[in-house]
């Protein structure tokens, strides 16, 4: 049980070093909200059900993320601003393997 260090670049281009707990059942979207790195109402709009893509991030450095599930894959197929390294923050459960993760928050809507 430990914290992991993540680099998150917000929508204004500012990079933040944040510490995320692995034992609070949090996902990356919730970490972004808890550090207020994106304005309320523009992130996690659907509550984390992979239904809105407001928490889309681009993965800049991938230390070993879990592969994408079907729901995430289908949502990203319909979302805007999607790149090859797009993931949904709400589907990325904070885990030890995320140490050193670097992401950039995608534009919304």
């Amino acid at each position: 049980m430990s914290d992991v260090n993540i680099k998150i670049t917000d929508r204004e281009g500012v990079t933040h070093d944040v510490v995320a707990p692995t034992d609070m059942s949090m996902n990356l979207m919730e970490i972004i909200r808890s550090y207020e790195l994106a304005e309320e109402g523009t992130i996690g709009v659907c509550g984390g059900m992979a239904m809105c893509a407001s928490c889309q991030v681009y993965v800049i450095n991938d230390p070993g993320l879990e592969p994408m599930g079907d729901e995430e894959d289908a949502m990203l197929a319909e979302a805007f601003h999607v790149k090859n390294n797009s993931r949904l923050g709400c589907q990325l459960h904070i885990a030890d393997a995320m140490e050193g993760l670097e992401v950039e928050i995608a534009p919304y809507p």
Partner: protein
């Protein structure tokens, strides 16, 4: 013109439950919602998903919770204006507000409760520069009147249920239906996917995947769209209509221009006293409001709706004596003449 005591904007769980609490205090409610059915996010986004933190329900599906709330409030006969959005409000006199929708429906009420949740659900639009030039000129975000498309050429884009379902439906109406999606896989109910497959095999639907619509062309109206199939050169398809169905996204909308105090896309209320906004007589309850300690939970919305109704009662009946009653003790008297009450205890001697 529709007249009521409390006009509720938003038919989500908070707005629906407000009808019940208002009814106990003999106040009538009318609800406006942009969606064609009540239930808000619960009905639109996740009707078949379970909720685990409604007190007294270890698990309840969102759609079932909406059905239950509708059943719980029915004796208070709420009115509904569905498929319309509240656009403007005016204070007519000391007693009455007037709220007009985007379709011109006029509502008069003595108090307004904004229970708008995430906001109005608006269609997610593609990002072409000339998009606005074609809106309602062949570019449609909803299929409101299917007959409109009879014997016309239609291109639909999207990969979800609504894209699939409307492709199936319009294949019997339009002269030509083309469905374009970024992937070969569609996400939707299994039978919708199978129907599209059948119609494709019969040549009734033209399927283009994996592909993307990258532009609209036409002089004053849609005449063609440009499509790019992965790994191939872009080409144009002649069409009368282009219907992108990329889902709905919530926006605060016109309420954002009412002069309400807004912070972080939410309406600021007077810190848990009665959830009144900076405008006297206008309340904000549920996910759409904010105050120190705010939690966006359905159960908190129920609480806020209850306190709001007490405040409106005092506002409409200044000085009138009233005490809080328990429904188990006093029962529930509906506006339809119905009465629900606890069975009387038996008083009988035991030998």
């Amino acid at each position: 013109m529709i007249t009521t005591d409390i006009l509720i904007i938003g038919a989500g769980p908070t707005g629906l439950f407000a009808v019940f609490e208002a009814g106990l205090l003999k106040m009538k409610c009318h609800i406006i919602d942009a969606l064609p059915q009540p239930g808000g996010q619960l009905a639109e986004l996740y009707p078949k998903k379970p909720i685990f933190d409604i007190p007294g329900y270890p698990s309840v599906n969102a759609g079932e919770l909406v059905d239950n709330l509708m059943e719980q409030i029915k004796q208070f006969q709420p009115g509904f204006t569905l498929g319309e959005t509240a656009v403007s409000y005016t204070k007519v006199d000391d007693e009455w507000f007037e709220v007009i929708t985007n379709k011109g429906t006029v509502h008069r009420c003595k108090a307004i409760a904004i229970a708008g949740g995430l906001g109005t659900f608006e269609p997610r639009k593609p990002t072409f520069e000339n998009l606005a030039d074609y809106e309602e000129k062949g570019l449609e975000y909803f299929v409101k009147e299917p007959e409109h498309f009879r014997n016309k050429k239609v291109v639909i884009a999207g990969g979800g249920d609504s894209a699939l379902d409307w492709s199936v439906f319009l294949s019997n109406v339009a002269s030509e239906v083309t469905l374009i999606h970024r992937r070969n896989e569609f996400r939707g109910a299994l039978d919708s996917v199978e129907k599209v497959q059948d119609l494709k095999n019969q040549g009734k639907i033209k399927l283009i995947t994996p592909a993307e619509v990258t532009g609209i062309k036409g002089d004053g109206k849609v005449e063609a769209i440009t499509v790019e199939v992965e790994g191939q050169e872009a080409y144009d398809i002649e069409t009368d209509y282009f219907i992108p169905l990329f889902g709905l996204t919530p926006k605060l909308g016109e309420i954002g221009n009412w002069g309400l105090n807004i912070e972080k896309n939410a309406i600021v209320v007077n810190n848990a006293l009665d959830y009144q906004t900076n405008i006297d007589g206008i309340y904000a309850i549920g996910d759409i409001n904010t105050y120190p300690g705010k939690l966006k939970l359905i159960l908190c919305g129920f609480h806020e709706a209850t306190l709001m109704c007490q405040s409106v009662y005092n506002r409409l009946n200044p000085g009138k004596k009233f005490v809080l009653k328990y429904t188990t003790v006093s029962g529930v008297d509906g506006f339809d003449g119905s009465r629900k009450e606890a069975e009387k205890a038996v008083v009988k001697k035991i030998d």
